[in-house]
């Protein structure tokens, strides 16, 4: 079967309906609804015989809108504050089997009532230098509401409350062709928007895969980045000072794949020996861009190894060599990426330490107010040991991932709709998820977001027993 599961089929059908919809522009039914166009269809544009009537249309209205000037801030010129306050909620539609250690745990129903806030201070320094200090936090009373005693401690620790430093750095220009940026920051590599191949420097928040807002997906790490520029080229040298890894769901979360808690994680100390390194060469040219990457980093995923202290989740060193390019052709943007990994280790003994990841993608912007993108990636493990197919690795020699995304704006960018479909395996046997998001701009500073995410079971670790995680979600956010 090509796409298993009724949910996935229904989602695809919706996608297929919406794509041609983009081509029909403003006169299609959905567009009419979302654009609030209530007038009946009219005859074609007037001919010259009605020209005078058309030209007289200037007399109908005068300009509206109040003449405004930029707000006079009470803050000093060198300081700028920005941030937001949000409230998000979700409803889990399925009900997964609780682990033996938490027999009363039922994920069905209200699964989030999260209050969040973030604040960023941008400080202008002499000689064009800039500093940023950012922080964010959240608290989710849903656990207290549903009974904290039913949740394993790891879930509460990872999902109930959080306060952390976000991007906080100092940046400036050392010479006309040399920039420096040092501190907690996010550096994104690659041309793909949906699949990570060469984007290896920052870990991710994977506590609720598919649910995390793009604002919060990448976790900043402390690093120093030196950028030199020559013509269309930029050479970027990076030293990562802070070993930081993916945030993963705690044992007891319905996103936790195993049946028993993961062993303690061994995080390398922040030391001179544990620095990570990256080098990127980027070029921007007429109609195309090219990037080459190299990195010597810790594996964000980690693997279980038996140490002197017992089983531990450890992060070994890996090497990544990569390249990414894109090419603009009319309304098409073609993308490609390649990443070679060496030094990979697994939670099972195997001699398969090298992998080649390849990606091809295309993005089309020719439909009005619409972006449609398709990306396909394959991760090929060399000398694949069949032993890796067993738990807890559930490895495959060729791991195919396909992502289809449709974004469309309605009502003068007031409403934004995004459909995302992510499939693992050639026939979806690895699992998949689909997400529909609608974002509505209530005012310049207030947005409401709502949607649904559906998961299908598969044999990849992330998707084992995942079809009970389906969620409805909503968020209200005030930004300033």
């Amino acid at each position: 079967m090509l796409f298993p599961g009724k949910k996935l089929t229904a989602f695809l059908a919706l996608l297929l309906v919406l794509v041609p919809f983009g081509a029909q522009a403003q006169n299609s039914e959905l567009d009419d609804i979302l654009s609030g166009f209530e007038e009946p269809a009219v005859s074609p544009a007037p001919e010259n015989s009605g020209l005078d009537e058309v030209l007289s249309g200037f007399e109908e209205e005068t300009a509206q809108g109040t003449a405004t000037t930029p707000d006079a801030s009470r803050l000093p010129d060198w300081l700028e504050l920005s941030g937001g306050i949000g409230f998000s909620t979700s409803w889990t539609m399925g009900s997964s089997t609780p682990p033996a250690a938490a027999p009363n745990l039922d994920h069905h129903g209200l699964s989030r009532l999260r209050w969040s806030a973030d604040l960023t201070a941008d400080i202008a320094l002499p000689a064009g230098w800039q500093a940023r200090i950012g922080t964010k936090g959240f608290h989710d009373p849903v656990f207290a509401l549903r009974g904290r005693e039913d949740y394993p401690a790891q879930v509460l620790r990872r999902s109930e409350s959080e306060l952390e430093l976000t991007e906080s750095y100092l940046q400036g220009t050392l010479s006309p062709r040399l920039d420096i940026k040092s501190g907690r920051q996010i550096v994104v590599w690659g041309k793909s928007d949906n699949i990570r191949l060469t984007d290896v420097l920052n870990p991710l928040d994977n506590r609720e895969p598919g649910m995390v807002d793009i604002r919060d997906l990448r976790l900043p790490v402390a690093m120093t980045k030196l950028d030199s520029y020559l013509g269309a080229w930029n050479l970027s040298g990076i030293v990562v000072h802070e070993p930081r890894f993916h945030k993963t769901p705690g044992f007891g979360s319905d996103f936790f794949a195993g049946t028993s808690p993961a062993p303690p994680e061994e995080i390398p100390a922040t030391s001179w020996e544990n620095q990570e390194y990256g080098l990127a060469l980027n070029g921007h040219f007429q109609g195309w861009d090219l990037s080459l990457y190299g990195a010597r980093i810790f594996d964000d995923m980690g693997h279980v190894a038996v140490t002197a202290s017992g089983p531990r989740l450890v992060h070994n060193r890996i090497t990544m060599l990569g390249a990414a390019a894109n090419l603009a052709l009319g309304n098409w943007l073609l993308k490609s990426e390649a990443a070679w990994f060496d030094g990979l280790e697994y939670s099972l003994p195997a001699d398969s330490d090298r992998r080649l990841d390849l990606l091809l993608g295309a993005e089309y912007m020719g439909f009005p107010e619409t972006v449609l993108s398709l990306e396909v990636a394959n991760r090929h493990t060399f000398s694949f040991d069949p032993a890796l197919e067993a738990a807890p690795v559930y490895g495959v020699e060729d791991d195919l991932q396909t992502v289809l995304r449709l974004s469309r704006d309605f009502r003068h960018d007031t409403v934004q709709l995004t459909l995302l479909l992510s499939i693992f395996g050639a026939d979806g046997d690895g699992g998949s998820f689909e997400r529909l998001t609608v974002r509505y701009e209530l005012s310049d500073s207030l947005t409401a977001t709502g949607g649904i995410i559906l998961y299908q079971d598969g044999d990849r670790p992330l998707f084992r027993h995942s079809d009970q995680r389906d969620r409805l979600f909503a968020e209200l956010r005030y930004s300033f």
């Binding site: 544009a45 809108g65 109040t66 990448r218 921007h284 972006v371």
Partner: protein, 273 residues
């Protein structure tokens, strides 16, 4: 939103055709053909090395307003134009930047890069289609850029008067379907002030949606000897009912500034203002 705002094009220079900007007053020219009039419009000095602030007010049919603030810089490179824009407000798009190398020739696609702070990434934008809305406004990308003179045919309809000034009404029609697709208009009628060759009004017949758009210059000022439309309204109508309108206001316009080429780079796009 993750979605690249593909239509963030260059506000500043936009004005080129829209307002067909800048020029010293000239006497009314009698006996000119429609094409010759438009050549005069096109030949205006557009004041190289420009910096400005833009305020965009989006007004829906219920009068509800949204506002955008943008800092823009532009520089001429022959007939091509380099532009970089930074969004100042509202908060959810603050620090978004847009860099464009706008090639005058319709044969060559513009180079465009968008920096999205939420993604921490510079993204190339591929869009030969200029008919989409600019930042959700009633202005399209086509409205915001200089039209290629040879891509249109011109017909002088009549003369009239706007705000006490004599104007020519010139009908412009795309020379072929490709141009029509790219601009999104089946035709336009442009009101050109006879004393300064300045288009003060235009009516655009939109290819899709049975809509007609009305562009009107509400404030025209002379800055450093150059005529500038400092307030322009674009109103979208259907069945003579206004569906949505946009007001563009330009503040702090400065010409002939010392703007280094380095400003128009991805490096600057990512560093911000």
């Amino acid at each position: 939103m993750l979605r690249p705002k593909p239509r963030l094009t260059a506000l500043a220079a936009a004005l080129l055709f829209l307002s067909a900007l800048f020029a010293a007053p000239r006497p009314a020219a009698a006996g000119l053909s429609a094409r010759e009039i438009m050549e005069h419009v096109d030949a205006r000095d557009d004041g190289d090395n420009v910096t400005l602030q833009t305020e965009m007010v989006l007004i829906d049919k219920n009068g509800h307003q949204r506002e955008r603030q943008i800092r823009a810089f532009m520089k001429d490179k022959g007939r091509d134009t380099w532009r970089i824009q930074f969004f100042v407000s509202p908060a959810d798009v603050k620090d978004t930047g847009f860099l464009t190398y706008d090639y005058y020739s319709g044969e060559k696609d513009d180079d465009q890069w968008l920096y999205l702070p939420e993604l921490h990434k510079t993204k190339r934008i591929a869009s030969a289609d200029k008919s989409s809305a600019f930042m959700g406004s009633d202005f399209s990308y086509a409205d915001m850029n200089r039209r290629v003179l040879d891509e249109w045919t011109y017909k002088l309809l009549k003369e009239d008067e706007v705000d006490g000034h004599r104007v020519w009404l010139i009908e412009t029609v795309p020379v072929n379907k490709t141009v029509e697709e790219r601009y999104g208009y089946t035709k336009s009628v442009v009101f050109v002030r006879q004393d300064i060759f300045f288009p003060v009004r235009a009516v655009h017949w939109v290819k899709e949606g049975d809509r007609i758009k009305y562009m009107e210059v509400k404030k025209l000022e002379q800055i450093d000897g150059i005529w500038v439309a400092t307030e322009t309204q674009m109103r979208t109508t259907k069945n003579r009912q206004t569906q949505h309108s946009t007001i563009l206001r330009w503040h702090d316009i400065r010409f002939n500034q010392e703007i280094d080429d380095e400003l128009f780079t991805v490096r600057r796009l990512e560093k911000g203002l």
